[in-house]
Structure formats: C-alpha cells, structure tokens
C-alpha cells in the first residue's frame, strides 16, 4: 500500500533521514521505533507532504506521491496525527472533527459523518467542549478523530501513546485495533511506549540516526542485537574507575 524507497531528507548539512526504504501492506499495523532524533518524525513529515524530500520516492496506492502537497495526499487517503498534540485550541471537539469530515463530505451530509466519528472515538460526552479545556488523553482521541473523519485508508500516528497512563493506553490501543479490523484502516505508528508497539504491531521498523537498521516481527526485533545496542539498551554500563 505504502512504499518508501531510498528516501533522503537533509536540513542543511544534517542528514535527518538517509536512504530509508520500507513497505507497508494493506491492513497492517506497522511500528516505527528508534531513539530520539533518529528521524522518525522527519520521515512522517516527508511521507505526509509537510517536507519535500531531497531524494527517493514515496508510492501510495500505486501513485508516486513524492513532493505532493499534504492536502492532496490526504484526499488520496492518508492522514496523520502529531507528536505534540496540535489541537485547534479554540474550537470545539465537534468542530474540529468537522474540519476533517469536510474532506469527503459536503454541507448536506457532513453532520452524519461527524456524529459517526464522535461515536466511534467515544467523544460524545465532550463534543461541545473547547479543545483547550481538555486533558492529554482526550486530545489524543480528538486528534485521531479528526484524522479519521477524513476517511483515510492509511493513518500515520506520531507518538500517540506518549504521556497516557495504563488505562488510557489500553483504551487507545483497543480503539486502534478496532479501527484496523472493522474499518480496514492501515496504521503506521511511531511509538516510544514499547508496551503499545509490542501489543499492537505486526511489523516493526527500527530507525537509528536516519537509517533503517532492522525490520521484522516484534519477536525478531526484540532479539536483534543491533536494535538492542542502539535502542532497547539492555546492556549494563561498564564504568572504569
């Protein structure tokens, strides 16, 4: 469904993503992990069109979308959330969802879609509240809801689990699983919360210093020596005194 080939993104002299290649199949939940500054968010930004990559191609649903503007990519069926929640602070939950819903609906039937998404994401109680009044867990849901309202075939979630407590995380994971199974949405998640990655993803891609160092199933990844060294950090320190 999504194919990233030799993607490179530089900021001045700094190479944020270096020749990254990976593939996401329809219906999958794929996890993207790696230490801070490994280039995960940059990769997301390039895929969703916020950054123009310096090299490589991004293919989505068989179309070469490299260098497309974000709204066109969204029209084609891909949306995303942000690492730091970027809610529309002064808008209500319902209005926020509506912005996304207008992607495929017009004035006549947009309300239906809004109601539907609000229900799926369990936002009914707070639909009239203003986003700036909400806590982190609700904001994450709102952000997911507005992306969901665009009716994507694929969703990129950027650290959607960060800062959630165990119960909130559980609810959130169940929601994603449900969307994946019932609505057939393909997910690509950048995640730090290992619990979420291991519990959710069928495939994992590990990024370090802008390069993909491993990919495979959760089991393969958690035993991969290179990943352990770069990211999981099991090894104890040897302090010479």
């Amino acid at each position: 469904m999504l194919k990233v080939a030799d993607l490179t993104k530089k900021f001045g002299n700094l190479i944020a993503v270096n020749c990254a290649s990976f593939e996401v199949n329809r219906g999958e939940i794929i996890g993207l992990i790696g230490p801070n500054g490994a280039g995960k968010t940059t990769l997301f930004n390039a895929i969703s069109g916020l950054y123009k990559p310096e090299g490589g191609t991004i293919t989505f649903k068989g179309m070469n979308i490299t260098g497309w503007l974000p709204h066109k990519i969204c029209k084609l069926g891909m949306s995303r959330t942000f690492q730091v929640t970027r809610a529309f602070t002064h808008m209500t939950v319902e209005d926020t969802v509506r912005v996304g819903a207008y992607n495929r609906y017009n004035e006549k039937n947009v309300q239906e879609k809004v109601d539907q998404v609000v229900k799926i994401c369990d936002l009914t109680d707070i639909r009239k509240r203003v986003c700036s009044d909400l806590g982190l867990a609700s904001l994450r849901k709102v952000e997911l809801a507005r992306a969901l309202a665009t009716e994507p075939e694929m969703l990129l979630l950027d650290e959607a689990g960060a800062g959630l407590n165990a119960t909130e995380l559980e609810t959130f994971m169940n929601l994603i699983k449900k969307l994946n199974q019932e609505n057939k949405i393909t997910f690509c998640v950048v995640e730090h919360v290992m619990q979420m990655v291991m519990g959710l993803c069928q495939q994992i891609v590990v990024l370090d210093s802008g390069e993909i160092i491993a990919s495979g199933t959760p089991n393969q990844i958690s035993t991969n020596a290179r990943v352990i060294e770069a990211y999981l950090g099991k090894r104890a320190v040897h302090v010479r005194d």
């Binding site: 800062g163 919360v193 950090g233 099991k234 104890a236 302090v239 010479r240 005194d241």
Partner: protein, 233 residues
C-alpha cells in the same frame, strides 16, 4: 540536602505529578527512572523553577525554594542540565560556558574553566566554534560543562543519554561518574535504566506521576518489576 514532600505539579490543566516525596542526601547519586511521559522531566523542571508547583514542599539545604524563579534557584547552588542539553546554538562554546558563570562571574577566577576543560578536553579544542556545529554527544558534554561552571552543590541531569549516539553514551556516563570526584551530588533522570542504575547509589521509579518504588540501586536492578518492564530481561 534536597527534600521534596507531597509535590503536585503540572501544566495549565493537566496535572502531571501526584504527591511525589523523595530526598537526595549529600554526596549521593540518585537516579529517577520511569517510562516516557511519567513526569520525570516535569519533576526536575518544577525543582528548578521552570514549572510552577501546584502544592507541596521543596527544600534545599533546609531552605524552602518552592516558587523561586529559575534564576534564583540556580544562585542557591542547584544546577539543572535540561533534557537535550538546551545549549545556546548561536553562541560559541566558550560563550556557552561563560553563561554558566552569569550569576557569579567572580567564580571564573577560581580556574573552573580549566577544570572543565580537563574533564572535557573536546570543549577546549572547539571553544571558538559555534555550539550549533557540535554533535549530539558534544552538545551534551557542553551542557554538563555549562552546568558545572557555577560550581553547584547539586547537579540535576535530565536524560543525558538522549539523542547521543550509543557509542558515546558510555563516554558521557564515564564523565558523569567523574562528577562524583568533583564533590558533587547528582540527581539523574533517565529512561535508559541500565546505565542509570549502574551509576546511582539509590533510585526511585516514577510511573504516571507517582513514585511507585524506591531503594538502593543494586536492589532495584534485581527487582522483578524493573527487570520485566525496564530492562526487558
């Protein structure tokens, strides 16, 4: 030396820390570990005055420092090396270090810069370079060095291994270890549990804004909970 009692803290509408109580003794290295988003950084920011506490007590050398602005906290001898270093990218390495002495320029006469250059020789070589040209590991060393210039009594380190290439983490931790010889008390916040517990004397585990475990570092590293969730053993 540093005592925190029933601290509640957070941002505008989100409460992050709930009833946190812990202490750091003189000449001790204490590690606070926990998952991402557990409130570790918020804790250090609250102590240093960047985040306003909602309630509780923070005393440093028996003086209440709760509610002081960051510039006053640092003058009490409590340095904070923030997450990611937060060096001044458009200033030279030397200027960065000098900024560390801002609250007490007289301290420069005591030869502190030479001491720091001995500890981090790489900074001496690059002292005229802009800090933005440094690598992740060098930035972290600069940040620690900058925190040391004021000769603090206690230094708080926020995720010193963050954004540092794995092979450099060893080196950074070696330097932190050397800080003990500097006569410093260290409060360390880390996600990288293995490193932190190896270095520390005592440790606290923070989850969802609450301290759920505490004990000697050796005890913690053998605890089942830690092994399972943090070390992945």
């Amino acid at each position: 030396m540093l005592e925190i009692k029933n601290l509640n803290s957070g941002y505008a509408k989100v409460s992050v820390l709930r009833n946190v109580t812990f202490h750091v003794n003189q000449d001790e290295t204490v590690a606070i570990i926990g998952p991402n988003g557990a409130g570790k950084s918020t804790l250090l920011k609250t102590i240093s005055g960047l985040v306003r506490a909602q309630s509780g007590d923070i005393t440093f050398e028996n003086n209440n420092i709760l509610g002081l602005s960051p510039d006053l906290v640092v003058r009490r001898g409590l340095a904070y090396v923030p997450e990611g270093g937060r060096i001044f990218p458009n200033m030279t390495v030397l200027d960065n270090l000098l900024m560390g002495a801002y609250s007490n320029p007289g301290i420069l006469k005591s030869g502190i810069l030479e001491e720091i250059f001995t500890l981090f020789p790489i900074l001496k070589n690059r002292s005229e370079k802009f800090a933005r040209t440094l690598s992740g590991g060098e930035r972290q060393m600069l940040a620690i060095g900058r925190g040391l210039v004021s000769r603090p009594k206690l230094i708080m380190l926020d995720e010193p291994s963050l954004g540092v290439a794995p092979k450099l983490i060893d080196e950074i931790y070696e330097k932190i270890h050397a800080l003990k010889r500097f006569g410093l008390t260290v409060l360390l916040v880390e996600q990288n549990t293995g490193y932190a517990l190896e270095l520390a004397d005592r440790g606290y585990v923070i989850e969802n804004g609450q301290i759920v475990m505490e004990g000697a570092a050796t005890d913690l590293s053998t605890s089942e909970h830690i092994k399972k969730f943090y070390l992945g053993l």
